[in-house]
Subunit: 453 residues, 2 copies
């Protein structure tokens, strides 16, 4: 969704720095590289997401009159700076790894080259979209891996971290392979399949499970799922069976288990349904699920056909953020890097080449090593998108193919081994040279680390 | 911010249930109670936040033409239901605990009484706002507790879970006692003080710390903070001292440490500044901080004047969601409850009374026990707010007073002991009676638990 303006969607220091660049006539094109420094525990890969929202933001980027009025009232900036802000648009180039692609720590996923003030001002929003959406797409892809072919539905809306977070979760989980979302607005906005069952309150409002199920089936004759755990699960299953038989329901009928020992209850429920001849009735499970809980249910052979996965996926509960960074790597013709303890960056605009035995992070203009293909693609030139946005289905297929191609240790849910990532010789040499130059220029002490990939 | 519409900001099952209620003529007023079932680990209290966004949503609630068109295209609902959706507004009453107030597990923080379809449709958004914003306000309050009087600045925008999450984080952390935010749009939207320093890229763009600091000080002569860890911290501090002396800077000047051993570096920096006679120059620390890291720095006596607290606060990293619920507790004149394993709810509209030795959860119409005061207040009647929105400053004072009044074990960062919460006799009796009635009505087996508070 393209919104014009958004210049205040940033940290104050970005505005301050941009003001300073503009006042000092610093209009050199700078390149910033967005990457994840380190994978969180129990992550063997990341699934890229968030690029489309970044491009929407950059397309509409600027300051509205109301935004400029606010800045004027703060008295922080002079007329010269406010005039410059009024004129500013994003005129830069962006390279990005397409959404759905699998990446690893230290690999640039998005690079911006633009006049330095523009590139600086957009940092906060680009980091926000890429960090959050990539962490959720990754979590969702792990759920898909764990489910071994069972269908997954996004149930995260109610406990996502905000309303637009819920939209991003629905989209990111669709990229990762979820079959549907419960989020109706996301269904509309992104064209996703929408699914839902019923809540305990529905049963309680009728006061009686059979009455509630019968009313619901009458209203939704082309498919419905009965929630059976409001009072006690076997009793709920009996009520569902009675209604299914009495109303001769046959199309897309299921029961949902939402509490208790799901492995045991699903077996018991399956037996009861099968004994009633209702082999086609599906079992749907939900309630505090994530990839670990799903993997355990699959391991126990629970006869569950589909899972509703909510909060823990939607906030990426065990890794709710990533150690992401958006770092200046070139300014004008000059490659730059920082040497802060534990946060050393590698200089220069980059490319990542994927080969059969691992990835190579290179300088942007290096040729592809034999048998490798580049991951970063130009997605914006001079502030314009060269191509129409990609459909989610394409991202979803890319994600499935990338994950299928991963070595098994990188796919493991616990203690995974990420795919190998090396630096090209030219990148390593440049890092060493720039680091040595900075050390020579600063008598203040040795730098605290060597450049990582 | 009131937006008209938003009827699709919901889970599909809410629409399905509402459609069914409407078709079956079920227009009884229902009461839903929103509460947190259990505190996350290391939480001795919660700070309520999110009520204002809930009321904004309810005020504008309805279906826009575009939303109805989408629903019509899904062919899920007949003309009768779409017409009913077109007319629907939120006409109910809301009671809530005011923002900034401290609450505990099992205490209703918001209760909605409305025709059941309306109350059902708004569940998803109400849970979303209250769950997320309460978890972040709580996390932020813990940072304030840990900082022992040092100032805190919200740096969470870049890795918050979405753009509106970042706005909510700035607001919630202000309620919890943060002094400022780096988030400029949140500053504008909520009238919050905005603060910021400079990034490593600024230093790198100039290529030289002294040149960068001098340029920045020339542009912001009424106050600036120099980032000193781009290459090595003592060298950066020396450069800052040189610029401060040469330019005779005196107003609101600071240095920011963003990496390395902050306790040791802050002591070293303080000595260097003091040796240069710059006693008034402040030390600002940032980089992966949360309440635990701040408490450790304070314990070590680190001479840090202010902290930038970002990602871990903004996503509430160790508890990124709460076990929140929005449960039907009364339907018409009938109190209701569910008995699902581990998720038993207590029936009836409620009030919470706070007394010197703990809280009492009661039925709404019970009198206050002596020396207690009610926490839930009417905040919306017949779909309208009786009063103007409260200023954040009022919420902030309430939060500070409530936390100061907590027993020390409830305030502990690790293994806290929450304040005592009891149920009134009348609530306990009602729970037992309704539970027994449900058990008598369901031959399917015993219920799996007793009602919790």
């Amino acid at each position: 969704m393209i919104i014009m303006g958004g210049g205040l969607l940033t940290d104050l220091y970005e505005l301050n720095m941009a003001a300073s660049y503009l006042r000092h006539g610093m209009t050199d094109r700078a390149t910033f590289s967005l990457f994840v420094r380190k994978l969180p525990p129990d992550r063997g890969f990341l699934v890229v997401a968030g690029v489309a929202d970044c491009l929407d933001f950059l397309t509409g980027f600027g300051f509205t009159g109301a935004e400029l009025d606010y800045l004027e009232r703060t008295r922080r900036y002079g007329r010269d700076v406010l005039d410059a802000f009024e004129r500013i648009r994003f005129t830069g180039d962006v390279w990005a790894v397409p959404e759905g692609r699998v990446v690893f720590a230290g690999e640039p996923v998005l690079e911006v080259t633009a006049p330095i003030a523009e590139a600086q001002l957009v940092e906060t929003v680009l980091l926000n979209h890429m960090t959050f959406q990539t962490s959720v797409a990754t979590k969702a892809a792990r759920c898909v891996l764990a489910a071994g072919g069972a269908q997954l539905v996004d149930f995260a809306f109610r406990r996502a971290q905000g309303i637009d977070a819920a939209m991003a979760v629905a989209r990111a989980s669709a990229i990762a392979g979820f079959a549907a979302t419960s989020n109706v607005e996301a269904g509309r906005r992104y064209g996703l399949p929408v699914a839902g069952t019923m809540a305990h309150s529905f049963i309680e409002a009728f006061g009686d499970e059979e009455a509630a199920f019968a009313a619901f089936a009458a209203d939704f004759p082309t498919g419905c799922t009965f929630l059976v755990d409001t009072y006690d699960t076997p009793g709920g299953v009996r009520a569902a069976i009675a209604v299914i038989r009495r109303m001769r329901l046959s199309e897309r009928i299921g029961v949902r288990l939402d509490s208790g020992d799901l492995a045991e209850l699903s077996r018991q429920t399956r037996r009861m349904l099968d004994d009633a001849g209702l082999h086609e009735v599906k079992i749907f499970a939900s309630g505090g699920l994530d990839e670990y809980a799903i993997a355990e249910l699959v391991r126990q052979g629970a006869p569950i056909d589909a899972y509703g996965v909510g909060t823990r996926m939607g906030v990426s509960a065990d890794a709710p953020s990533l150690d992401s960074a958006y770092k200046l790597v070139a300014c004008g013709e000059r490659p730059v890097m920082k040497l802060s303890a534990g946060k050393v960056t590698a200089p220069g605009a980059k490319q990542v080449f994927r080969g059969p035995s691992g990835d190579v992070v290179s300088l942007r203009d290096e040729p592809s090593p034999p048998g490798h293909r580049p991951l970063l693609e130009p997605v914006m030139r001079a502030g314009r998108r060269p191509a129409a946005p990609e459909p989610i289905e394409t991202m979803r297929e890319r994600c499935a193919a990338d994950i299928a191609a991963l070595p098994a240790p990188a796919r493991a849910l616990r203690d995974p081994q990420p795919f190998e990532v090396r630096r090209s010789e030219r990148l390593a040499e440049l890092g060493n040279r720039v680091s040595a130059e900075i050390q020579a220029a600063h008598a203040g002490g040795p730098p605290s680390g060597l450049p990582s990939v």
